[in-house]
């Protein structure tokens, strides 16, 4: 007979695993009333620290070669594959059936592979060469926006969080993510996977706690450039929209979205957190020759 060594679920900020600054914890339970774990109940100050980490990681992540970002996302999928059993076990503990849990983990892995492939391809898809009436070569390309604040879906512990993080970092952004409140286990275990892959610290920062408490801080923070929420509640959506006005951040609601289906992955999700930059490049009008752009 030995005592089980229970895992301490800590948060993930700047490539490190601190406890919440607030010293608060909560204990989510599954449907049969089993206590899942003691999980950090993050405060606005944890969010503040995470945004600082995300901002400082942004420069090198957004300047990294797109192909290299793809390699890193692929590596994340590889590491996730290696920890499959643990994720299945956690999902089962959080009320999934065994078969559904296995399916969810497989889908999460495939989703990372999917976005790994997109890393150096969405630019071609969304770039345009524009017709203009002057001797200019005029083209538009997508560029990352900066730091995204993400409130992950509540009902899907692993697939949900992977599906919202992947398109954001594929596009060269960094992010701060709040995991599912009631099913937080996979979010933190995912942080351990990210930590063990080649993803630089600070690109993804994972917090746990109550969306209700942190929503206004996500939406109001001047150094967050986009907020993605999966909340269906119109009151919550209204609050986020209002608070986001201060620095005109982009707001997206991925509500009522079925993450297991075809709408769970799309290059248009990458486009959501991109800015379009248009360049006017003067060209010589050779001997009055017409045509060109």
């Amino acid at each position: 007979m030995r005592l089980e060594v229970l895992k301490t679920y800590k948060i993930y900020i700047g490539g490190q695993f601190p406890r919440t600054e607030s010293g608060r914890y909560y204990t989510p339970e599954n449907k049969s009333g089993k206590k899942l774990a003691n999980v950090c109940l993050c405060s606005r100050k944890d969010l503040r620290d995470a945004v600082v980490a995300a901002r400082s990681a942004y420069g090198s992540w957004s300047n990294r070669a797109a192909f290299n970002r793809g390699q890193i996302l692929y590596r994340m999928a590889e590491m996730l594959e290696g920890r499959k059993a643990q994720f299945v076990e956690e999902l089962v503990m959080q009320d999934s059936a065994k078969a559904a849990a296995e399916k969810e983990v497989n889908l999460a892995i495939d989703r990372l592979i999917y976005y790994a492939g997109w890393c150096d391809k969405y630019q071609q898809l969304f770039s345009t060469v524009n017709p203009v009436g002057s001797p200019h070569f005029n083209f538009s390309v997508p560029e990352p926006m900066g730091v995204a604040g993400i409130i992950a879906p509540q009902d899907s512990s692993l697939l949900g969080i992977v599906s919202v993080i992947a398109p954001v970092i594929t596009g060269g952004n960094t992010c701060v993510v709040l995991g599912s409140e009631e099913k937080p286990l996979c979010a933190i275990t995912l942080a351990e996977v990210l930590h063990a892959s080649d993803l630089p610290g600070g690109v993804v920062n994972i917090l746990t706690g109550k969306p209700e408490e942190l929503n206004p801080w996500f939406a109001g923070h001047m150094d967050i450039n986009a907020v993605i929420s999966c909340d269906e509640n119109p009151e919550v959506q209204k609050l986020i929209r209002e608070k986001s006005v201060a620095n005109l951040k982009r707001v997206f609601f991925y509500d009522k979205r079925n993450w297991t289906g075809g709408e769970g992955e799309s290059p248009y999700l990458i486009l959501d957190t991109q800015e379009i930059k248009t360049t006017w490049h003067p060209v010589e009008n050779i001997a009055g020759a017409g045509g060109g752009y």
């Binding site: 606005r44 503040r48 945004v51 901002r55 801080w217 109001g220 923070h221 001047m222 150094d223 201060a246 620095n247």
Partner: protein
């Protein structure tokens, strides 16, 4: 230079008090544990802003950059009205004239580094000319560096005489003496260098040039503050303190204020006797002040870089 009457005898600097390293570091760590309530924090932050020597000491400095910095000194953040200006702008001697003109009528001082900053490896006559040049161009304050090499050789008389000579060359300008604590090595030596500087006539003692790591730390500053206190008790003369380099967060700056208050008292809590040598601290303080005003965390790109 004639010594003032109240200092009849110079102490033997070899006998400067020894410093208990563990004690000083633990004492300094205590200052970071004080709880500061919001009202005091706001006043504290405004005081910090008012104590900053806004600094640019780069080889690539241009007159335009210096004018820009002076504008920042006069207008830290116009979106938040009623802010105090910074204490001084700190530049190289060649930029003093530009800074002086840009700050005309604002009451903000111009500080100039001098004496072959940052190494101090030059003959005395060059250091004196450097100092006179800065003062002639209108510097209100001179930041000199001590000869660390001579100090390590045990040539305390040389170091003392040099500081005294520069003090004389400063005339009306106040003299800050940079010890470059990162190159001194031990707290004992920092204490000894502080004593030498103050007895030789320093108006301020300053930790670092900002070019060497480690720069200012809480324990180093504590050692220097205690030297100032002992000197004050012995001679009745107040000396200013300027930690410089490595202080970029408001929270840390508030810890420094706590330390000054607890070691030296309220008399030193003005920019006449305490300064921060920093370039990025100002923006962090401004971001905190705006956060307290609006209730929202701020982003660096809404504040002018310099």
């Amino acid at each position: 230079m004639p010594l003032r009457k109240e200092i009849q005898y110079l102490p033997d600097f070899r006998l400067s008090p020894r410093i208990d390293q563990v004690g000083v570091e633990e004492r300094a760590a205590r200052f970071t544990k004080r709880s500061i309530k919001n009202e005091s924090k706001k006043d504290g932050l405004r005081l910090v802003l008012n104590m900053i020597d806004l600094t640019t000491l780069e080889g690539k400095d241009t007159e335009g950059k210096v004018r820009q910095l002076c504008y920042k000194a006069r207008h830290p953040h116009d979106a938040l009205p009623g802010l105090p200006a910074v204490a001084a702008v700190c530049v190289y001697p060649s930029m003093v004239k530009t800074a002086k003109k840009a700050l005309e009528g604002s009451g903000i001082k111009v500080a100039s580094v001098a004496t072959a900053f940052p190494s101090g490896q030059a003959p005395r006559d060059i250091k004196l000319r450097d100092t006179r040049y800065a003062v002639a161009n209108g510097a209100d304050e001179v930041d000199m560096v001590i000869s660390r090499g001579k100090f390590h050789e045990g040539e305390y008389n040389f170091v003392f005489d040099e500081i005294a000579a520069i003090k004389e060359a400063c005339g009306q300008a106040r003299l800050k003496v940079i010890l470059e604590t990162g190159e001194l090595g031990t707290y004992d030596k920092i204490r000894r260098a502080s004593d030498i500087a103050m007895y030789a006539g320093a108006d301020f003692i300053k930790t670092s040039t900002g070019k060497i790591q480690p720069a200012a730390t809480l324990p180093v500053t504590l050692v220097m503050l205690e030297a100032i206190r002992d000197f004050y008790n012995k001679t009745g003369k107040m000396t200013g303190m300027k930690p410089a380099g490595g202080i970029s967060k408001s929270k840390l700056a508030l810890h420094y204020l706590v330390m000054v208050k607890e070691v030296l008292g309220d008399d030193w809590l003005t920019n006449e006797w305490f300064r921060f040598g920093a370039s990025s601290l100002a923006n962090d303080v401004l971001m905190q002040l705006v956060k307290m005003e609006t209730g929202q965390y701020q982003a660096g790109n809404y504040f002018s870089a310099d």
